[in-house]
């Protein structure tokens, strides 16, 4: 028992030292979390479950499945155009920040780009949590006035006559870009195609990957 006790004290001191190395925001969040739990407003298991959900269950592979299906099933593509909420919800991608969906298709002449200039509106059920850049001033300020400059930051250059269509998510409508299907993928099934669909291609800051760039 005595050894255990010593060990416990040591462990406690270690935690304490560690806490003092935390940054102000780390300390602030830790304090807020403890307070919410102590007041009975949040349960630790709930917090862990929320994090786990967005780390492992809800992410851009959902959106890639939607895109790949649109590429392979004309009826589904038509459903997406007509009622994207119903089509996407039918695949089980429902809920928070994806209640009202609109799918916008890239074509040979039009490229779509999605932004939320006022905050960070983003289609969570199909793309997961937004990347840092999507929520940061550089992207939010420039996407609506200089989208080609933004695309250049992502290494994307479009033909000079391509029409650029920017969707500012100012309401609860959430936009999903359906990138153009890459050439050389004839006969591919949906699973194989989904690997070509990056998160950024569904925001509009990238194109779908070419077959030779597919991740193994």
């Amino acid at each position: 028992m005595h050894d255990d006790h010593d060990h416990h004290d040591h462990h406690h001191d270690h935690d304490h030292d560690h806490a003092s190395e935390l940054s102000p925001i780390e300390l602030r969040v830790r304090a807020l979390e403890s307070l919410l739990v102590e007041k009975g407003y949040a349960e630790p298991a709930t917090l862990d479950r929320l994090i786990e959900t967005y780390e492992t269950k809800i992410g851009p592979r959902n959106g890639a499945a939607v895109v790949a299906r649109a590429w392979t099933e004309p009826d589904f593509a038509e459903w997406l155009r007509r009622d994207a909420s119903a089509a996407i919800h039918s695949m089980g991608f429902t809920g928070r920040q994806g209640e009202h969906m609109v799918a916008v298709e890239n074509t040979a002449t039009t490229h779509n780009l999605v932004v939320c200039t006022l905050c960070s509106c983003y289609p969570w059920p199909v793309l997961g949590l937004p990347p840092t850049w999507y929520k940061a001033p550089a992207y939010r300020s420039r996407a609506v006035i200089d989208p080609r400059g933004v695309l250049a930051d992502f290494g994307v250059t479009l033909p000079a006559d391509t029409r650029i269509r920017v969707w500012d998510s100012t309401a609860e409508t959430r936009y999903l870009v359906i990138p153009a299907r890459p050439e050389g993928t004839e006969g591919w099934d949906a699973d194989r195609l989904a690997a070509l669909v990056s998160r950024d291609s569904m925001i509009g800051t990238a194109l779908a990957r070419a077959p030779q760039d597919a991740e193994a």
Binding site: G40, A42, E43, L47, D48, K135, A138, I164, E172, D200
Partner: protein
């Protein structure tokens, strides 16, 4: 309000820094910030528009130098205080000084259902839509001190109705406890030239989603 959140068209923030798809969080505190924000929101003491307003009323200098999860944390502290769920002293100390209010926290068993259910923001129509696709309209020119979702760059501009989205909760009232006051919502498309004038990208078109009271007929 003309706060720092209304970023469209501003300059000087530098290049966009892409990040890999696998990079979901940058440090454990971001995970905890996400979780406490969602869990506290599930208490039902504020709505999404109130929470957006809590974030956009951060002083501009602070808003622009905070990461988005920092903005969430600061906004959440304001929301908890406004709702009388905590006191400033409790926030300062990270400890309760009195028992919590009688609320029902989100249980772990409810998480999946709560997230997959979401909360629809559309409402039944009580009047026909005033505009139809193809109609030309102008956005109002105003500078309200309250919450609004009509960005500055798109005020007083002419555009074309591209789609009628349905009837949706009106953020300008809902953010202030003044009711849902649902209105027709439209996707309104502008040319780059209409928004930005000389030197605008001639291939650019930008749309916003605009509630009916933001619009006037031409």
């Amino acid at each position: 309000m003309n706060g720092a959140q209304d970023l469209g068209g501003m300059m000087g923030f530098g290049r966009v820094i892409p990040e890999p798809e696998s990079e979901i969080f940058h440090g454990d505190w971001e995970k905890r910030a996400l979780a406490v924000t969602l869990a506290a929101g599930a208490l039902g003491r504020w709505n999404i528009d109130i929470s957006r307003h809590a974030r956009e009323t951060l002083p501009p200098g602070e808003y622009l130098t905070s990461t988005y999860y920092e903005i969430w944390v600061k906004g959440l502290e304001k929301l908890l205080l406004q709702a009388d769920l905590v006191t400033p002293e409790e926030i300062r100390d990270g400890r309760a000084h009195a028992p919590g209010a009688a609320v029902k926290p989100l249980a772990v068993a409810q998480v999946d259902a709560a997230l997959s259910r979401g909360s629809p923001y559309d409402r039944p129509a009580s009047a026909p839509a005033r505009f139809a696709p193809g109609d030309r309209v102008r956005t109002r020119r105003f500078n309200p001190t309250h919450h609004t979702r009509l960005p500055r760059y798109a005020r007083g501009r002419e555009g074309v109705i591209e789609a009628v989205r349905g009837v949706f909760i009106f953020p300008d009232t809902n953010a202030h406890g003044a009711g849902e006051a649902p209105q027709w919502l439209y996707t309104l498309r502008f040319t780059g030239e209409e928004l930005w004038g000389e030197g605008a990208d001639p291939t650019l078109e930008v749309s916003i989603d605009a509630w009916e009271s933001y619009l006037v007929s031409l």
